[in-house]
């Protein structure tokens, strides 16, 4: 689990995804060469053609499980990894491609491909934790690079990562953003969405659209009422919950949770 250098071995794995979350590691421009000095980057195909064999001290896993082959591959990654951390909405919730879970995948195949029979794909896109034990899930579409560095640092030090699970509302208060929902009537998922982005969208005069998925104890029924009062139709409400974390409860069923008043 340590390289001949004595440094712990880090591996980065990709399943169905856009590569954005593993790119976040390369986007740590100020820290990258230090990280590369304190761990042995043993497997990271996007950055290196050298691929050292496992086992690995820490595996970062990006992407969701969408093919029979990947169901087997993630089990092998788990066997090779002391600590397995999933990074991003695809790995932690199935990603945008989990929209297939609500529909007929053969119909989607026939929209995109002339000969769907050439393709081997599952009917669902599911998070890594549905298939193997996961030691920590880091949320976001994409993940936040400060949070990624915290998680890598924590696991190398053998401590629990300090990642808050409160809502985006807390970050808005900390930044001093006026509430876009209350002050402007702009539909916002901030009250039910986990913090981590730094309340980016409200800072740009836009409602949160839920990249980090549901916070610890979300009152989606109450928010659905507020969204309807802000002028959203039932279809609008379904669409706003059903994006990058659509398969994560309670976002999955939130559109049907309207409060009875």
């Amino acid at each position: 689990m340590t390289a001949p250098s004595g440094r712990p071995k880090l591996a980065v794995w990709k399943f169905a995804s856009c590569d954005g979350c593993q790119l976040t590691l390369l986007d740590c421009e100020d820290e990258l060469l230090d990280v590369a000095g304190s761990v042995d980057i043993a497997y990271f195909l996007e950055a290196s053609s050298a691929a050292a064999a496992g086992p690995y001290a820490l595996s970062l896993v990006e992407g969701s499980i969408t093919t029979p082959h990947d169901v087997e591959r993630i089990r092998e990654v788990r066997r090779q990894s002391e600590v397995l951390v999933t990074i991003g909405a695809c790995a932690t919730a199935g990603g945008i491609q989990a929209l297939r879970n609500f529909t007929d995948v053969q119909e989607l195949l026939s929209i995109v491909y002339a000969n769907p029979s050439f393709l081997s794909t599952l009917d669902t896109s599911t998070p890594i934790a549905d298939h193997v034990k996961v030691n920590f899930e880091l949320r976001g579409c994409p993940i936040d690079r400060r949070q990624l560095l915290e998680v890598i640092g924590a696991f190398l030090a053998g401590r629990k990562p300090q990642i808050p699970n409160h809502s985006v509302c807390v970050e808005c208060k900390l930044r001093g953003n006026p509430c876009v929902l209350v002050a402007h009537g702009t539909p916002c998922l901030g009250p039910v969405t986990q913090a981590g982005c730094g309340a980016l969208c409200p800072g740009f005069d836009r409602g949160c659209y839920g990249c980090f998925g549901p916070m610890e104890s979300p009152n989606t029924a109450s928010l659905v009422g507020a969204l309807a009062a802000a002028g959203m139709t039932e279809d609008d409400i379904e669409r706003v919950f059903h994006t990058f974390n659509a398969w994560n409860e309670p976002f999955r069923s939130a559109p049907h949770h309207q409060e009875v008043s």
Binding site: C18, T24, A47, S48, S49, A50, I96, L108, I111, N115
Partner: protein
């Protein structure tokens, strides 16, 4: 290291490194001839075009960004322009300039990533930029600093570098003040200096003799080195509007790939990306970037896939100049976006992603709900041409050992900076010498 070539062999790479996404290659050699070459794109299909149906016209900038974490702005810009075309509105003035500025950030970030992290290690026989840092740490530190400025520009205009949150049909949610942009000017000046140094670094590399004859396709704009808009042109005389793309290009499904192969109808495969863009538009470069290109040994066109690293460096310098011009002339618009109203219609939008032409088409119903979406990314357009390059490289180098041949073939692929994540709807090398 050469060895007696067997009459039949198979070369395979199961997972290509230093490309974006997942792919493999398989080469079959029989009686000393290349029989079959396949870039297998096994990146799992994600069906974006399928689940865009039934979504609202304001959603594709956020949704299609998720096709690619390396070039999300390209997806956002092509999506916005296609939908605005369907809604018969045009975004111009300072809003168009801000879009170009955002796109400059993505080109700086993406090109710097490819030049240093994906491509440059090949020229030194190294596996990664981290290994390169052991022998040339200043070059890698400069790359990180330049990439960081690209990302900071993306954050300034777009809110964040990966999947920006500030882009919408009609413009932006919030626009920066003139003061905010001017405060960024020193970083752009620093980026321009570093980009000029990168051109000098890559100009000094050793380039194998290899020229390709693919038809080049790129956008062309009356005044600018086209990024955000323009007509679609080729060096075989094609000159069409974006809306005519479906009349002249088609995508075909092949059994070995989850990416569709594109071709020019009634003709053949073609190439988009830096070589095509530069060869069709070098007269539109900013004077400083044009001078740097000449000093780096480039003529008005470039057909060497290996020298694409020089073209990317020249393009990086060019967009630094463009960004400075935009910042200097910027006056904040009255509103962050123009008003758009839903209406039924079909619209087309093509922009120059860092890897080449990216075309989107949307059909909307009268409520602005998407009835049909078509997305044609650069790598699926290039896949057949990349396979041609591979076949040529392998045919000319059959005396190499399997390992040398495999490594050279991988380099031939990385020359084109394929983005496999994008291409699916792209690569393992298996070389079969049976």
């Amino acid at each position: 290291m050469t060895h007696e070539p067997k009459s039949s062999r198979t070369l395979a790479t199961e997972a290509l490194a230093r490309v974006e996404g997942e792919g493999a290659m398989r080469v079959q050699i029989h009686d000393g001839r290349v029989q079959e070459i396949q870039l297998n794109i096994y990146e799992p299909p994600r069906f974006f075009e399928g689940f865009l149906r039934g979504r609202h016209y304001q959603e594709p900038p956020d949704i299609t960004a998720r096709i690619c974490g390396i070039c999300p702005v390209a997806y956002q810009m092509s999506a916005c322009r296609a939908i605005e075309d369907a809604l018969s509105v045009q975004v111009d003035g300072p809003l168009r300039e801000l879009r170009r500025l955002l796109y400059c950030g993505e080109w700086i970030q993406s090109h710097t990533l490819h030049i240093h992290f994906l491509h440059l290690p090949d020229f030194f026989g190294l596996d990664s930029a981290v290994e390169l840092a052991a022998t040339n740490r200043p070059a890698v530190e400069r790359a990180l600093e330049l990439k960081k400025i690209g990302n900071e520009l993306l954050e300034l205009i777009g809110g964040r570098a990966i999947h920006p949150i500030n882009v919408k049909v009609g413009g932006f949610y919030r626009v920066p003040s003139r003061r905010e942009l001017l405060a960024f000017r020193p970083k752009l000046e620093q980026a321009r200096e570093m980009a000029a140094e990168v051109v000098l670094l890559v100009a000094g590399l050793d380039f194998p003799d290899l020229e390709v004859s693919h038809e080049f396709v790129a956008l062309r704009h009356p005044e600018e080195y086209a990024i955000l808009d323009g007509g679609i042109v080729s060096d075989a005389g094609l000159a069409i509007a974006e809306a005519e793309f479906p009349d002249h290009f088609e995508e075909l499904q092949v059994e070995h790939s989850t990416a569709l192969h594109a071709r020019i109808r009634e003709r053949a495969n073609y190439l988009v990306g830096p070589l095509a863009r530069y060869s069709l538009n070098s007269d539109r470069l900013h004077p400083e970037a044009a001078a740097a290109a000449r000093a780096a040994g480039l003529g008005p066109t470039c057909r060497s896939p290996f020298r694409s690293i020089v073209v990317r460096a020249v393009e990086t310098l060019d967009v630094c100049e463009v960004a400075l011009e935009i910042v200097d002339a910027y006056e904040a618009p009255d509103a962050p976006a123009i008003t758009v109203e839903p209406r039924a219609g079909t619209g087309h939008g093509a922009t120059e992603a860092p890897r080449g032409l990216l075309y989107h088409r949307y059909s909307l119903d009268h409520d602005g709900i998407i009835a049909d979406a078509v997305i044609t990314p650069p790598t699926s357009q290039n896949q057949a041409s990349i396979e041609d390059d591979l076949a040529r490289f392998v045919s000319l180098n059959l005396d190499l050992s399997d390992d040398e041949l495999r490594r050279g073939a991988e380099v031939a692929i990385r020359n084109h900076d394929p983005c496999i994540s994008c291409a699916t709807h792209f690569l393992d090398l298996t070389v079969d010498r049976s």
